[in-house]
């Protein structure tokens, strides 16, 4: 690697001077906009992710208003929503657009691009000891294609017929027929174009992540010495690489059905008594293609969070991660299983019950590697010398949410129980806990923990605690009652349930959930303030504020382009030598050879001295 001679900052303590005397003479655009530096690209992803998270959260507040106060009038929203408020009532089709866009934005633009885009880009080169990604140019391209996808998706929110409204799963025939609802018109077209670009961006990023992990590890950084974050990002990229192309196929076929008169997903449809000419297609086929992506997608969302949490828990419990190899094995297990369970989203589509039981069996097996991970996290914390940093709180919160949401997953995985629970708020509560809120907690945990390396300053811990507790409480207040009304049969995606006598007893509960949701959303502004304020005014960070072992903390406070001034450090040990008996300090960085730690070496490590 020494042959890749990239110029670096000489004086790490005077970061601002370095801007003036940089060897490349990069102008503003090269440095901050079309940057090839993985750290800048990671921050770009992070800023976009935070922006999208607030948009997505705001949309959810709008439809929670409708669900919480179905009789109320929302005239005060007219300045924001304009024509979507009719006589003080939220337009029902706009309600559908809101849930659709909330799902799309949160799943793809925040928890896929914002989460793995940020942390894969930031941490892979830093933690494996590389100057940058394998191809900086493709990395930049990946972000800008994502940016264009974002612009199109955002733009679709403002067109006259509204954004896509067929649900984030965009099932045909609803999404295929512009005549069906307004939201299947231009909004849907823009959704498909945006998602096609998004997939291209993911593939550009994904091949880069995988290749970087394989080819650019520093000397000594074997696959069993890389931090669990890197394993998580690697497997996430593999999942994306294999799952997203299938969504691309489905999207392209859907585009043809919508715009070029093909019948891939359409058959025997009447609109207002008129038969459409489309014949022979199958709407279920789309669901198979969609969920072949859609299920791995939830692991694309949760695996990076698991990786970040593993790292943060080990660092802050001051203990080696419990079962390092079991952690890798369980992630590989989850990744493999994620491709063979997709039909559990389709139990009630009329599939053969025998096939249903096969998918049920495979689905329930995922509980095994998931439980292995949960027990390992708990065992890592167990009797650890725990430091409750904001990042650690979010990591523990993640484990809590993952358990709560995971347990209901076992219930939902039963094809018989699913007949009752399908498309109810029970499902909504389940996946919001296990992949929505949990992945968000993983993201927060990552931001609080790696903020010093990103911006050279610390985030405020006290605000972090407040943010954590408010968010943690709000999440449970929102989603625990939701399970309850879900079991009662309350269906999701309904604009109005006041017409059903059965559900009227849940009015108060719905109002309560909406209040909790608003409470939780408002709490996020504490984070936003903390995040922005700390960039400029935060306490200055040291090189290794958390006394962590991994390679990124051996770089200067603000690493320049190329990450390490001078040679890339070599690696001698795994990243989890915390509180090793006999060691001088309670952490031994990966760059310390065994010959320097003879007092703490284990018998089997004596050979390496």
């Amino acid at each position: 690697m020494s042959s890749t001679d990239i110029s670096m900052t000489r004086d790490v303590h005077h970061v601002h001077e370095e801007h003036d005397e940089h060897h490349h003479d990069q102008n503003f655009f090269e440095k901050y906009i079309f940057s090839l530096d993985h750290k800048v690209i990671a921050k770009q992803y992070l800023f976009m992710g935070i922006f999208w998270a607030f948009v997505g959260g705001f949309l959810s507040i709008l439809f929670r208003l409708q669900l919480g106060w179905p009789e109320a009038t929302f005239t005060f929203l007219e300045p924001i929503l304009g024509g979507w408020i009719e006589n003080g009532k939220l337009n029902p089709e706009f309600y559908l657009a809101l849930v659709t866009m909330h799902g799309t934005i949160m799943v793809f633009f925040v928890l896929t691009a914002g989460l793995s885009g940020t942390f894969s880009n930031f941490l892979i080169p830093l933690q494996i000891g590389a100057r940058d990604m394998a191809s900086g140019f493709m990395n930049m391209l990946s972000f800008w294609v994502f940016f264009i996808a974002s612009v199109i998706m955002f733009w679709s929110l403002f067109i006259e017929t509204g954004p896509a409204a067929g649900g984030w799963t965009v099932y045909p025939p609803l999404s295929a027929l512009p005549e069906a609802i307004q939201g299947s018109g231009d909004g849907m077209t823009m959704w498909l174009i945006s998602m096609a670009l998004f997939i291209v961006s993911q593939l550009l990023g994904g091949v880069n992540y995988i290749t970087t992990v394989i080819n650019l590890r520093t000397k000594g950084m074997s696959m069993t010495k890389i931090p669990l974050t890197i394993w998580a990002f690697l497997l996430t990229a593999v999942l994306g690489l294999l799952a997203f192309p299938v969504l691309l196929s489905a999207a392209l076929l859907l585009i043809f059905d919508r715009s070029f008169g093909t019948s891939f997903f359409l058959s025997d449809i009447y609109i207002a008594g008129q038969a459409l000419s489309n014949t022979g297609g199958s709407a279920i086929l789309f669901q198979h293609l969609f969920w072949f992506l859609g299920h791995p997608e939830v692991y694309i969302v949760i695996l990076p969070a698991m990786g970040l949490v593993s790292e943060v828990i080990a660092t802050n419990a001051r203990k080696p991660i419990f079962g390092y190899r079991a952690m890798i094995g369980s992630m590989v297990g989850i990744a493999v299983l994620s491709f063979v369970v997709w039909a559990h989203h389709m139990f009630v589509t009329g599939m053969n019950p025998f096939l249903g039981s096969v998918f049920m069996f495979l689905t329930l097996i995922i509980a095994v590697p998931s439980a292995v991970k949960v027990f390992n996290w708990i065992a890592t914390i167990w009797r650890g010398n725990v430091r409750f940093t904001a990042a650690m709180l979010f990591a523990i919160g993640f484990v809590s949410l993952f358990i709560s949401g995971g347990l209901t997953g076992i219930i939902l995985g039963n094809s018989a129980l699913d007949i009752q629970l399908h498309d109810t708020y029970f499902v909504v509560a389940h996946f919001h806990l296990v992949m929505g809120a949990a992945a968000f907690f993983g993201m927060f945990c990552g931001v609080y923990h790696w903020y010093p390396k990103m911006f050279g300053r610390m985030m405020d811990e006290k605000l972090g605690y407040i943010h954590f507790w408010l968010t943690f409480i709000a999440v449970y207040l929102v989603f625990m009652p939701m399970h309850y009304i879900g079991i009662a049969g309350f269906p999701r995606r309904y604009y109005n349930w006041t017409g059903f006598e059965t559900f009227n007893i849940f009015t108060d509960l719905n109002t309560f959930i909406s209040l909790a949701a608003i409470f939780g959303f408002v709490a996020q502004f504490i984070f936003l303030f903390n995040f922005v304020y700390s960039i400029f005014r935060g306490r200055r960070a040291t090189e290794n504020p958390w006394h962590s072992n991994t390679l990124e903390w051996t770089t200067p406070v603000l690493p320049g382009h190329g990450n390490w001034p001078g040679e890339i450090p070599a690696v001698y040990r795994w990243p989890y030598d915390y509180s090793k008996p006999g060691a001088a300090e309670d952490y031994i960085p990966q760059t310390v050879p065994f010959s320097q730690t003879q007092s703490s070496n284990l018998p089997n490590e004596k050979d390496f001295e």
Binding site: I128, G129, A134, S135, M138, L203, G206, V207, N208, I210, T211, I214, N215, L216, R217, T218, K219, G220, M221, S222, M223, K225, L241, L242, A243, P245, V246, L248, S249, A250, L252, L253, F256, F260, G261, T262, S263, F264, S277, N278, T279, G280, G281, S282, L285, L289, F292, T554, G566, E567, P569, A570, V571, Y572, P589, T591, V592, P593, S595, Q596
Partner: protein
């Protein structure tokens, strides 16, 4: 830390870092992973083809008595039996066999170009790239003819219940069978043709660069090798498309 690195050497096995464990540059690895994902895209299309065809009624009568009907999936040999210059002659799959041969030949010349690149033989790389470009262009031209013939249709066409005859194919209706037969034909061969076109464009760029001596100055012809990987992949996909659409 920097002092410690000089004290002892870290481990240096195949997967111990500091090297290329698969003995492939990052560019080639990226191409392999891209092809893996592209294989899933095509795989999804071919699965759509398989399931759609399975959902349609097959033709069960005598092959000699076969007529086009929207009731059943057509026999490919009866659809693809035309050859340019032999109007009205029944030559089942002759033209598509020729197309396949051309594409396979282009793969052979591609291999020769890559091999010439390993020898740093600029003249040979140019020669074999040019042959590959020529075969690629011929394949695309053949596909254009095949599509035109498919769209225009045969003289006989399909006799409709109302007594009229329908010639050729559009997305909504075609003379050969159910609408999805033509939909899938256009979509999948079109998507493959698009891939060939992209590869063909890349080949032209590589040819120009070779002529200008870009790769020679760089010291290796790896770009030709990477495009070669893509080109072989596109050929391989055609073998599957050919099998599904024309043979089965």
């Amino acid at each position: 830390m920097s002092t410690s690195t000089t004290l002892e050497a870290p481990k240096s096995g195949t997967w111990d870092g500091g090297n290329e464990p698969m003995k492939a540059s990052y560019g080639k690895l990226m191409m392999w992973f891209f092809l893996l994902s592209d294989a899933f895209t095509f795989g999804a299309f071919l699965i759509v083809y398989g399931l759609t065809r399975h959902a349609h009624t097959p033709y069960t009568g005598e092959a000699e008595a076969f007529t086009f009907s929207t009731e059943w999936w057509p026999i490919p040999e009866k659809v693809f039996n035309a050859f340019p210059g032999f109007h009205g002659v029944d030559l089942p799959l002759a033209f598509v066999a020729l197309m396949t041969m051309i594409l396979i030949f282009s793969s052979v010349t591609m291999v020769l170009a890559v091999e010439a690149g390993h020898r740093m033989d600029k003249k040979d790389v140019e020669k074999w790239l040019l042959w590959t470009i020529l075969f690629g262009a011929t394949f695309l031209a053949c596909q254009a003819w095949e599509w035109t013939h498919f769209i225009v249709g045969t003289d006989e066409g399909m006799l409709l219940p109302d007594g009229t005859t329908y010639h050729g194919a559009s997305m909504a209706f075609n003379q050969y069978g159910p609408p999805l037969f033509a939909n899938l034909f256009f979509f999948i061969t079109g998507f493959h043709g698009f891939h060939v076109f992209i590869g063909w464009t890349l080949l032209i760029v590589a040819f120009i660069s070779t002529v200008n001596g870009v790769y020679h100055k760089r010291g290796h012809y790896e770009m030709v090798e990477k495009i070669g990987l893509y080109w072989h992949f596109v050929d391989l996909v055609w073998v599957f498309v050919f099998t599904f659409f024309y043979l089965i």
